[in-house]
């Protein structure tokens, strides 16, 4: 018997009991569609999160004072402006392109009776290139603002909306931050929400001004975070080593007891990738359970079918069918069930993913489910395997029937 003939015969046999075959296929359709849709949503979430991290810039490193998870460090020293300037040493740190120390705190901004609690960030002019800032209006804090401890500010759009109810024509207005007057020099482009909180509810001021008037720290020269831009994506690791080396020397730390932490965008990236990867597998795993249930449905139906067709099996054996012939006949039927279910399920899962994407877009989330080739391949292989695996027992039972017994069966 050739393959085409087997397929035709199996189709005919499945076709003779449309309702039953249809319901069995439905079990597989739901399973495969769930796997495809879940994995698409998981991959989409991953892509969206990774995209927003990449938007921050992958050459970026973060330096915080304080060790992570190491209580043995005694008398940790804060990172200071001087430390930050030391990182700009072309000889000690050839892989560092720019350094942007910041000082961060909360304050109330008000204008004409409108108030807004906001994050005040003291920055240097280098913050602009390092953080990839773009401005809606005006210009960024410059070197003379910094040197002169000028009372100037660049505000985020949330702050603009809350205080002025508009976003343009604000340059030159004066707002009060923690009761001190600040002149607006620029407005930030709306960034939307990110994994690090909203960048739209921020007020940027010169770091010198912040140290002097807005945010006081026990060590006058201290900063909270230093953003460091490496020269290239590939030199991030080297830059990280150079920063550590400089800070160890300057802070005279004991070996293995750093009082600072260098965090790279890549390490965040891989952490997030891990988390979302686990999430995707988890979702896919749950969906796979429904595929398993569908497989048990196939087995059930095939067992019924074998019992119903005992006489047919007996007859086929009387006419010269070998064990193998009967086995293949039933395996083809069960595989066909799961394969048809798999194909419909892929299309259906794709549709679900598409609809989810549309809903996300409509509700303003930038999120596109990704139906990957891997998910399709996985679902196809898995459903075919389910059909084969759950078909083997019934098919074996059919093939093992004694012809005499089977022919006598009523």
């Amino acid at each position: 018997m050739n393959l085409l003939q087997l397929l035709l015969e199996a189709l005919e046999s499945l076709n003779s009991n449309k309702m039953r075959s249809g319901l069995t296929v439905l079990g597989i359709v739901i399973g495969v569609a769930a796997v495809i849709a879940m994995m698409a949503v998981g991959n989409g979430a991953q892509a969206s999160i990774l995209g927003s991290i990449n938007g921050v810039g992958t050459n970026l490193l973060f330096v915080f004072s304080g060790a992570r998870n190491n209580a043995a460090v005694k008398n940790p020293r804060p990172i200071t402006m001087t430390d930050a300037n030391a990182m700009m040493d072309l000889y000690a740190a050839p892989d560092i392109k720019a350094v942007a120390p910041v000082l961060q705190g909360n304050a109330i901004a008000d204008f004409g009776g409108n108030t807004k609690t906001t994050t005040v960030i003291g920055v240097t002019p280098d913050y602009y290139p390092v953080r990839n800032i773009s401005l809606l209006d005006g210009e960024f804090i410059n070197q003379s603002n910094q040197l002169g401890r000028a009372s100037v500010a660049v505000i985020g759009v949330d702050v603009a909306d809350a205080l002025f109810n508009r976003r343009d024509g604000l340059v030159g207005e004066t707002i009060r931050i923690a009761n001190s007057p600040f002149r607006i020099v620029g407005v930030l482009t709306p960034a939307g929400g990110s994994s690090f909180g909203s960048q739209d509810n921020e007020v940027l001021v010169p770091i010198t001004t912040a140290q002097a008037r807005l945010i006081t720290r026990p060590t006058p020269d201290a900063v909270d975070t230093v953003y460091v831009e490496a020269t290239d994506f590939s030199t991030v690791g080297a830059a990280s080593d150079e920063i550590s080396q400089i800070l160890r020397t300057r802070h005279r730390t004991q070996v293995g007891l750093d009082d600072f932490t260098v965090f790279t965008q890549q390490s965040i990236l891989s952490t997030v990738q891990n988390v979302t990867g686990v999430l995707t597998i988890f979702l896919g795993g749950i969906a796979a359970i429904s595929l398993l249930v569908g497989g048990i449905g196939i087995m059930n139906i095939m067992l019924v079918s074998v019992t119903e067709r005992t006489r047919e099996i007996g007859l086929r054996k009387a006419l010269g069918a070998r064990k193998r012939d009967i086995l293949i006949q039933f395996l083809v039927e069960s595989s066909l069930l799961s394969l048809i279910g798999g194909i419909i399920g892929i299309l259906f899962g794709w549709l679900i993913a598409f609809v989810v994407g549309r809903i996300a877009t409509a509700t303003g989330n930038n999120f596109t489910p990704v139906v990957g080739m891997d998910a399709i391949l996985l679902a196809t292989l898995f459903s075919a395997a389910v059909g084969l695996f759950f078909g083997i027992y019934p098919a074996n039972r059919a093939a093992g029937l004694e012809p005499v017994e089977a022919l006598r069966y009523e």
Binding site: E12, S13, S16, L315, A318, G320, R322, K323, R324, D325
Partner: protein
């Protein structure tokens, strides 16, 4: 003498729990090529067991069975399947056609299991023409009368040119007029093609038309028309 069936001292024991039932106890018989033989006997005589073994559907517990020059008593399942396919044609009381398939597909089935690729259609059509159903080849069994269905079954039995055709109560589900036609057809095929015909029946009238009647009683063979064996 050209013997197509040679059975010697055949025994078949069934185990039913603790009890052993001896369905055949030393049956011996021979059938010549081209012969028409009726196997008769009361219920429980071992007639069905004899038929199953002659048709290679079952194996004897002991004894020899040589079918068309080949000893088949000790073959394994797949070998028996091949023997059934090539050397035995079955006609059943209840026709046993595949209801989903056309007459032509039903007749083709043994050729498919034989692995025959070429001129399958042609041979199946010829077999259907030989039983007088050349104009019904695309009908399904549900669209055919009982007599026509049995004719399809006969075409299926002869399509592989078997050494023997085993007919088990071929007229049991048919009215007597149609039954007579079916027996006439079988005898006619025997005459034209020289196919050995073994009919298992209760009907003495059918037995009369055979060249020889083999009586089975208590698991033994009584050959009334010839010498006692």
């Amino acid at each position: 003498m050209d013997l197509v069936v040679e059975v010697k001292d055949l025994r078949k024991v069934y185990k039913m729990g603790e009890v052993e039932v001896e369905a055949l106890c030393g049956a011996t018989l021979t059938i010549q090529r081209g012969e028409v033989v009726a196997i008769m006997g009361p219920s429980g005589s071992g007639k069905s067991t004899m038929m199953n073994i002659l048709g290679c559907l079952d194996r004897p517990t002991s004894g020899d069975y040589i079918l068309d020059g080949q000893s088949v008593a000790t073959l394994n399942d797949d070998q028996l399947a091949a023997i059934r396919n090539h050397k035995v044609g079955f006609v059943f009381q209840s026709f046993n056609l595949l209801s989903r398939q056309t007459a032509l597909s039903n007749v083709e089935l043994p050729l498919r299991y034989a692995g025959q690729m070429s001129n399958r259609r042609q041979r199946a059509r010829e077999a259907l023409e030989a039983v007088g159903l050349g104009d019904r080849i695309t009908h399904r069994p549900t669209e055919l009368s009982g007599g026509q269905q049995q004719r399809v079954a006969i075409a299926r039995a002869i399509v592989n040119d078997p050494a023997i055709v085993m007919a088990d109560e071929p007229t049991g589900n048919l009215d007597s007029k149609v039954g007579r036609e079916i027996i006439a057809l079988l005898l006619n095929l025997n005459k034209q093609r020289g196919t050995t015909l073994i009919i298992v029946t209760h009907d003495a009238a059918i037995g009369q038309q055979a060249q020889r009647i083999i009586h089975i009683r208590d698991g033994m063979v009584e050959d009334l028309n010839g010498d006692r064996k």
